[in-house]
C-alpha cells in the first residue's frame, strides 16, 4: 500500500517537478547571466496566470494556444524591465538589490490585487478535464499536458543555449561578464534578453499553473520563493540544476501530499535547501558533476 | 623569532609553496623576492594565518600560529598588510587606524591616542579627518601600514607595499619602514623593486615556483646565478 502511494507520489511529483523546473529555469538563467536576483519573478508568473485566465475567459481559446500570444509580450516586458529599471539597481550596494526586487514583487502583486481582488479564480478548460488512470496511478490531463508543455519548452531552451550564437553569448556572460565585454558582447543587452527569456518561461509556467491551481495574488511570493529554492537546490546558474532541483522539490511535495504531510511539504523543502546552503551552496548539480 | 618549518601549500595538483623553511628575528629586515607566481603572497598568507599549510608549520616564539585563525595570529603579534589595499572606505583615516588600535588598547581614549601617534609616525596626521576613499595611492599605502602598526605587532608583514608607486614615493615609504624597524619591530617584505630590496634587505630570500632558490644579503642573492636564471631566463646567464 505504501509502495503504491509512493509510486503515485513520485509520478505526480515528476510531472509537477517539470513545471517547477520551468518556473525556476528562467529565474536561474537570468541570475546566471546578469547576476541579479529577480525576486519579482513570482509576480511575473502571477500576471501570466491572470493574462492566461482573462484570454481564456473572454475568447474561450484553449489556454495553451492563448499562451502563444502571451509569451512574446512577456519577453518584451521582461527585456525592458531589466533594461530600464533593474539595470539601475545594479549600482546600489549588493544586498540592496534583493530588496529592490522584493519591492517590485510587492508592487506587482498588489497591482494584481487591485485589478483582480483577492478572490481566487480557476481556469477550468473543458478539453482538459479528463483523468488518466493506469492501475493505481490516477492523474489529471491538466497535469500531464502542463508537464509535457514544460518539458518541450525546457528542451527548446536547452537547444537554444547550446546550439545558437545567442546561447553561447549568454553562456559567456554568465561565465565572465568582464571577459565577455572585452570580447565585444553587449552585456547589458544580453542581461535584458535573459530576463526576457525568464519572463517568457514564466508565461508558459503561468499558463500551465493556471490550469492546475486557483489563481490569487499571494501566489506571487510563493512562486518567487520556489524559484529561488529550486535554483539554489539544483545549482545557481545551471539549467540542468533547475531541472534536478525542480524534480526533487516536485517529488517531495507530491510524496508529502499522498502520505498525508502535505501541509508541511514546503517546510521540508525549505529545511532541505537550508542544509544545502550550508554544505554545498553551489547546488546539487555541482556535486554530481564531480 | 619567527620560524617557518618545511611549509608546503598544495591546491589540488598545484604546489604553490614547496617545502620552505626560514627563520627571522626582529633585528633584521627580511625581503622575499621572486618572479610572479613564485608563491610569495601564498607564503605570506600562511604566515599571517589566512591560509593553512598543507604540511609543515610556522612557529612564533613558542606559539604554533599555523593552526590559529587569522585574527588570533594578528593578536599574537604577526600582522600583515594586503597587496591590494583594503581601507575601510566609509570611515575617516583616524577611524580606520582606530580599528587596529582597539586590538590591544584598553579603551576608547587609549585607542585614539595610539591611533594618532601612529598616524604621526607614518605622516598621515594632517589627513586624519579625511574619508579614506579620497586618499591618493601612496597615502593609502601609508594608511594600510598605519592600521597594522596600530595593532602593536611584533612582526609587520608588508605584501608588495611598493606596488604602484614611483621611485621617489618608494624611497619615502622605505624611509618610513626603516623608522618603524628602528623601533624594534620585525619587518618582512615581499618586494619586486630591486632598488628597494637593495636599500632595505638585510636578509633576502628568493623564491621561484614555490621553492627557495637563494638566501643571503641583498648583494649575494641578486648576483647569484639561480636568481638571474629565475628572473631573466636561461639564455641571458651567459652575458653575466
Amino acid at each position: 500500500m505504501l509502495l503504491t502511494l509512493l509510486l503515485v507520489g513520485v509520478v505526480s511529483g515528476v510531472l509537477g517537478g517539470l513545471i517547477l523546473a520551468l518556473l525556476s529555469t528562467g529565474f536561474n538563467l537570468a541570475l546566471g547571466v546578469s547576476r541579479v536576483v529577480n525576486f519579482q519573478h513570482g509576480a511575473v508568473v502571477l500576471w501570466a496566470m491572470y493574462a492566461s485566465y482573462l484570454l481564456w475567459e473572454h475568447t474561450g481559446l484553449n489556454p495553451y494556444l492563448g499562451m502563444l500570444f502571451i509569451v512574446p509580450v512577456a519577453f518584451v516586458i521582461g527585456y525592458f524591465l531589466h533594461r530600464w529599471l533593474i539595470a539601475r539597481s545594479l549600482d546600489t550596494p549588493e544586498d540592496s538589490q534583493i530588496l529592490f526586487s522584493i519591492g517590485l514583487l510587492i508592487a506587482f502583486q498588489y497591482l494584481a490585487q487591485f485589478f483582480f481582488s483577492t478572490d481566487a479564480r480557476s481556469l477550468t478548460e473543458e478539453s482538459l478535464q479528463h483523468s488518466f488512470i493506469a492501475g493505481p496511478i490516477f492523474l489529471q490531463y491538466t497535469q500531464i499536458v502542463a508537464a509535457l508543455v514544460s518539458l518541450v519548452v525546457l528542451v527548446l531552451l536547452h537547444l537554444m543555449l547550446t546550439r545558437t550564437n545567442l546561447g553561447r553569448s549568454l553562456h559567456a556572460c554568465a561565465q565572465n561578464p568582464t571577459g565577455a565585454r572585452v570580447a565585444g558582447l553587449n552585456v547589458e543587452h544580453l542581461s535584458a534578453v535573459a530576463l526576457g527569456i525568464a519572463a517568457a518561461c514564466a508565461a508558459v509556467s503561468g499558463t500551465a499553473l493556471a490550469t492546475l491551481a486557483p489563481i490569487f495574488p499571494e501566489r506571487a511570493f510563493e512562486y518567487s520563493l520556489v524559484a529561488v529554492v529550486v535554483s539554489v537546490l539544483g545549482g545557481m546558474g545551471s539549467m540542468s540544476g533547475s531541472i534536478l532541483g525542480g524534480l526533487i522539490v516536485g517529488i517531495i511535495i507530491a510524496v508529502s501530499q499522498v502520505t498525508g504531510y502535505g501541509d508541511l511539504a514546503m517546510a521540508i523543502v525549505y529545511a532541505l535547501v537550508f542544509l544545502i546552503f550550508l554544505v554545498r551552496p553551489t547546488g546539487l548539480i555541482s556535486a554530481i558533476k564531480r | 623569532m619567527l620560524n617557518v618549518e618545511n611549509v608546503s601549500v598544495r591546491f589540488g595538483g598545484l604546489v604553490a609553496v614547496d617545502n620552505i623553511s626560514l627563520r627571522t628575528a626582529t633585528d633584521s629586515i627580511l625581503c622575499i623576492i621572486g618572479p610572479n607566481g613564485a608563491g610569495k603572497t601564498t607564503l605570506f598568507s600562511v604566515l599571517s594565518g589566512f591560509l593553512k599549510p598543507t604540511s609543515g608549520r610556522v612557529r612564533f616564539n613558542d606559539l604554533e600560529i599555523s593552526s590559529m585563525p587569522a585574527h588570533r595570529v594578528s593578536l599574537a603579534g604577526v600582522s600583515r598588510t594586503f597587496q591590494i589595499v583594503r581601507p575601510f572606505r566609509d570611515l575617516t583615516v583616524l577611524d580606520n587606524v582606530m580599528v587596529g588600535a582597539f586590538a590591544k588598547a584598553s579603551g576608547y581614549d587609549e585607542a585614539r591616542e595610539r591611533a594618532l601617534a601612529v598616524l604621526n609616525e607614518v605622516g598621515l596626521y594632517k589627513k586624519r579627518d579625511f574619508l579614506a576613499s579620497y586618499l591618493t595611492l601612496p597615502d593609502l599605502k601609508r594608511l594600510e601600514v598605519a592600521k597594522t602598526l596600530a595593532t602593536q605587532p611584533v612582526y609587520l608583514l608588508l605584501d608588495e607595499v611598493m606596488a604602484g608607486l614611483n621611485l621617489p614615493e618608494q624611497h619615502e615609504v622605505a624611509a618610513m619602514i626603516e623608522k618603524i624597524h628602528a623601533r624594534g619591530i620585525g619587518v618582512l617584505l615581499v618586494e619586486h623593486s630591486l632598488a628597494m630590496v637593495q636599500r632595505l634587505g638585510q636578509h633576502v630570500i628568493c623564491m621561484d615556483s614555490g621553492r627557495k632558490i637563494a638566501e643571503g644579503t641583498a648583494a649575494e642573492v641578486i648576483r647569484s646565478e639561480a636568481v638571474q636564471v629565475a628572473y631573466m631566463g636561461v639564455g641571458n646567464v651567459q652575458a653575466a
Binding site: G103, V232 | P69, V99, R128, S133, T136
Partner: protein, 345 residues
C-alpha cells in the same frame, strides 16, 4: 565616555542629536493633547523605528542582511499570548522568557550560519527560509493558533500592560527608542562598534587587524534578536492579538528592513527616522485610499508602497541620515586640515 560622545557629536553634528532630542521632548509633552488617532500612528511609527534600529545592529552595522527577523518578533508576541492563555502569566514575566528564547535561538542560528560562512544573498535567503519554516509550523499547529492566530485574554493591571488607554504605549515605545538610540550612539565608539564597521567594509582586512569576525557577527545577531523580541512583547500588549500572517511574515521583516534602509543603515538615528516615515507613508496611502471607498484601492496603496521601496533604494542608497552624515564628513574633511592636498582617488 565623555570623549566618545564629544567625538561623535563633532563628527555627526550636535545639531542632529539636539534636533532629535527636541523632537522627543516635544512629542513627549504634546502627546496627551493630540488627537488619539495621530498618537496611535506615532506609536506604531516608534515601534517600527525601534524594530528597524534593532535590525540595524545586524543588518546595518554588521552588514549582514537578515530577512528572517520576523521570527524573533513573533517569539516575543507569541510568548505573551501563549503564557497568558496557558498559565496566566503576566506580560512583564513573559518578557524575560521571550528574550531568553530569542537569544538562545539566535545564538544557535548564528553559530550554524556563520560557522558555514553564510554570507550576502545566502544569508538573506537562508534566514528567510527559517522564518518561513516557522510560519508553516505555526499555521499547522492548533496550540499555536493556526492561521487565525491567538487572542490574548484581557488581564488586569499594569504588569499586563493593561492601562485603560493606548497613551502609555506611546511613552513606552518612546522610552525604548531613546534607550536604543543612546545605546547605538555609545556602541559606535566602542571596540565592538568599530569592529562591526570594519567587518562590514572589509571582512579579511578586519581579521588582519585582530577582529574575530565570526564572533561579532554572532554577537550582533543575538543582541538584535533579543531587542526585536522585546518589540514583539510590547506590541502584543498593545494589539492583544497575534497571528502568523503578520507577526511571522515577510511584511513585518520588511518594515524593519525598509525603516533601516530608508533612514540609514549603520547610523544610530537613521532607522528611527526611517521607521516613522515608513509608517506615516503607509497610513497616508491607506487614508487617501479609503477616501475613494473601495478596498481594492488599499491594494493600490500597497502597490505604491512597494514602488516607494524601489524608489528609496535608487534615490537614497545610504538612507536619509546616512546621506546627510556622509556629506557632512566629506565637507569637514575638504575644508579641514591646513596644507594638505586632497585628490579624488
Amino acid at each position: 565616555m565623555l570623549s566618545k560622545l564629544t567625538d561623535s557629536f563633532r563628527q555627526q553634528g550636535a545639531a542632529l542629536w539636539l534636533g532629535a532630542a527636541a523632537v522627543v521632548v516635544v512629542a513627549a509633552v504634546a502627546a496627551p493633547w493630540i488627537n488619539p488617532y495621530y498618537t496611535r500612528v506615532m506609536t506604531m511609527g516608534l515601534l517600527c523605528g525601534y524594530l528597524a534600529a534593532s535590525w540595524n545592529l545586524i543588518g546595518g552595522y554588521a552588514g549582514q542582511m537578515s530577512l528572517g527577523h520576523a521570527l524573533f518578533f513573533a517569539i516575543g508576541s507569541y510568548s505573551v499570548a501563549l503564557l497568558a492563555r496557558l498559565q496566566d502569566v503576566p506580560l512583564v514575566a513573559a518578557l524575560p522568557i521571550a528574550v531568553v528564547l530569542s537569544v538562545a535561538l539566535a545564538w544557535i542560528i548564528a553559530s550554524i550560519c556563520f560557522r558555514y560562512a553564510l554570507r550576502g544573498i545566502y544569508f538573506a535567503v537562508g534566514t528567510l527560509l527559517l522564518a518561513e519554516i516557522a510560519r508553516i509550523l505555526v499555521i499547522n499547529s492548533d496550540t499555536l493558533g493556526r492561521s487565525q492566530g491567538l487572542q490574548i485574554p484581557a488581564m488586569e493591571g499594569a504588569r499586563n500592560f493593561n492601562f485603560g488607554s493606548d497613551l502609555p504605549f506611546f511613552y513606552i515605545f518612546l522610552a525604548m527608542a531613546v534607550a536604543l538610540a543612546l545605546f547605538c550612539l555609545v556602541l559606535e565608539r566602542c571596540k565592538l562598534g568599530y569592529d562591526l564597521v570594519a567587518l562590514r567594509e572589509q571582512e579579511e582586512g578586519a581579521q588582519a587587524l585582530g577582529v574575530d569576525t565570526n564572533a561579532i557577527k554572532r554577537m550582533s545577531f543575538v543582541i538584535s534578536a533579543g531587542l526585536t523580541s522585546v518589540g514583539g512583547v510590547v506590541y502584543a500588549g498593545l494589539v492583544r492579538y497575534v497571528e502568523p500572517g503578520y507577526d511571522l511574515s515577510l511584511t513585518i521583516t520588511l518594515f524593519m528592513v525598509m525603516g533601516a534602509v530608508l533612514g540609514g543603515r549603520g547610523t544610530a538615528l537613521g532607522p528611527f527616522l526611517g521607521g516613522v516615515v515608513v509608517v506615516i507613508v503607509q497610513e497616508l496611502l491607506i487614508t487617501v485610499g479609503s477616501q475613494f471607498g473601495t478596498t481594492s484601492v488599499s491594494a493600490l496603496a500597497q502597490m505604491i508602497y512597494g514602488l516607494f521601496f524601489v524608489v528609496v533604494l535608487l534615490v537614497f542608497p545610504r538612507g536619509i541620515v546616512g546621506q546627510l552624515l556622509h556629506r557632512r564628513i566629506d565637507r569637514k574633511a575638504t575644508q579641514g586640515s591646513v596644507g594638505a592636498t586632497v585628490e579624488a582617488s
